[in-house]
């Protein structure tokens, strides 16, 4: 006999359940966490290096690096002074909550204030797989072009903060900041946006202040925040 069974279940519901478990583990350890997403070459690892070096002595930072292959990025984060773990996805184009769960089990989270998860460089797939981190940060870079919000709406809609990196290159390339920002505003009204250059250091202080404020708010929640 043939029958139609109603299911109505989210296709990626299993990932969302694991993400919730990851969040609970991070909360229990008192760790504030960020998911860094960007296209390849936007400056995720460079921003991590600067963040780790500049906040040394103020925050204990751990880094989980996702890449298809190699441990180059985790090595760079470790050299900068972070506790680092590399995840090789073996071809997968994004990290998922199960991979983060495995990586968290390899880490001693005690005494860690901030965990930065560096996702696989990709503006499409990582947006569909929440990891359980507290906030998502998208790192855009000016040479990618000002049309990226329009072409990758899923990514721009889902993030909590936006970094515009490589602003030192603006005099040399065609990048209409107003057009770019209008696309961002359409997709994610009021999104926290910070412009900086990892190469010159311009704008880095505002980013570091934002990170410190977020870590502080997570560790000392007040009724006002």
């Amino acid at each position: 006999m043939s029958a139609r069974l109603p299911v109505v279940e989210k296709i990626l519901g299993a990932n969302e359940r694991l993400a919730a478990i990851n969040r609970a583990r991070l909360d229990a350890a008192g760790v504030y966490s960020l998911n860094f997403m960007a296209s390849p070459g936007a400056g995720k690892t460079s921003l991590i290096e600067h963040t780790v070096k500049r906040l040394a002595g103020q925050l204990n930072i751990a880094v989980i690096d996702g890449d298809i292959a190699t441990s180059i990025d985790a090595d760079r984060a470790a050299a900068a002074g972070a506790t680092a773990v590399q995840i090789n996805t073996g071809g997968e184009c994004h990290l998922d909550a199960a991979m983060l769960q495995d990586a968290l089990l390899q880490m001693d989270l005690s005494n860690i204030h901030l965990l930065i998860v560096e996702n696989v460089g990709n503006l499409v797939c990582p947006a569909s797989f929440p990891l359980g981190t507290h906030h998502s940060v998208l790192i855009a870079s000016t040479p990618e072009g000002d049309d990226k919000p329009y072409k990758y709406p899923g990514m721009y809609r889902g993030v909590d903060a936006l970094i515009i990196n490589k602003i030192d290159l603006l005099p040399y390339i065609s990048f209409e900041m107003d057009y770019f920002r209008q696309g961002v505003e359409l997709l994610n009204p009021g999104l926290v946006t910070l412009s900086l250059s990892c190469r010159t250091g311009e704008g880095l202080d505002a980013w570091l202040d934002w990170v410190k404020a977020r870590v502080s708010a997570a560790r000392n929640p007040s009724p006002e925040s």
């Binding site: 029958a3 109603p6 109505v8 279940e9 998922d96």
Partner: protein, 114 residues
């Protein structure tokens, strides 16, 4: 492109529901997918034929119901379906929008035989 893990998840959900109902064979799987979900139907079907082999779902047909993107302009309260690469309101050029439809991504039902 992340159709493989998506397809594996569709199979896991289908088999779990079929087993719970005591069904022996899954013949059809009905999916509801919004236009904003970056999934290619043909790729999912391609992976499905591989991952469902030697399971009670082998040979099942996948049906995709696509939901077009629909936005609400928060400035003039008009609902509209945007053209590709366009998001702003065609009526008032407003840029404050809310997604009403297009993000759906779920398995609606399965057809089974016992």
């Amino acid at each position: 492109m992340h159709e493989l893990p998506v397809t594996e998840s569709i199979l896991e959900i289908s088999l779990r529901h079929a087993t719970a109902a005591g069904a022996k064979q899954i013949t059809d799987v009905y999916l509801v997918i919004g236009q904003l979900a970056s999934i290619v139907d043909d790729s999912v079907q391609f992976y499905w034929d591989i991952v469902s082999k030697d399971t009670p779902a082998e040979g099942a047909k996948l049906h995709f119901r696509r939901i077009p993107t629909e936005l609400l302009c928060l400035d003039c309260n008009i609902r509209y379906k945007p053209a590709p690469m366009e998001m702003g309101c065609p009526t008032c050029d407003g840029v404050h929008v809310k997604v009403i439809a297009g993000e759906e991504f779920y398995l609606e039902s399965i057809q089974v035989e016992d």
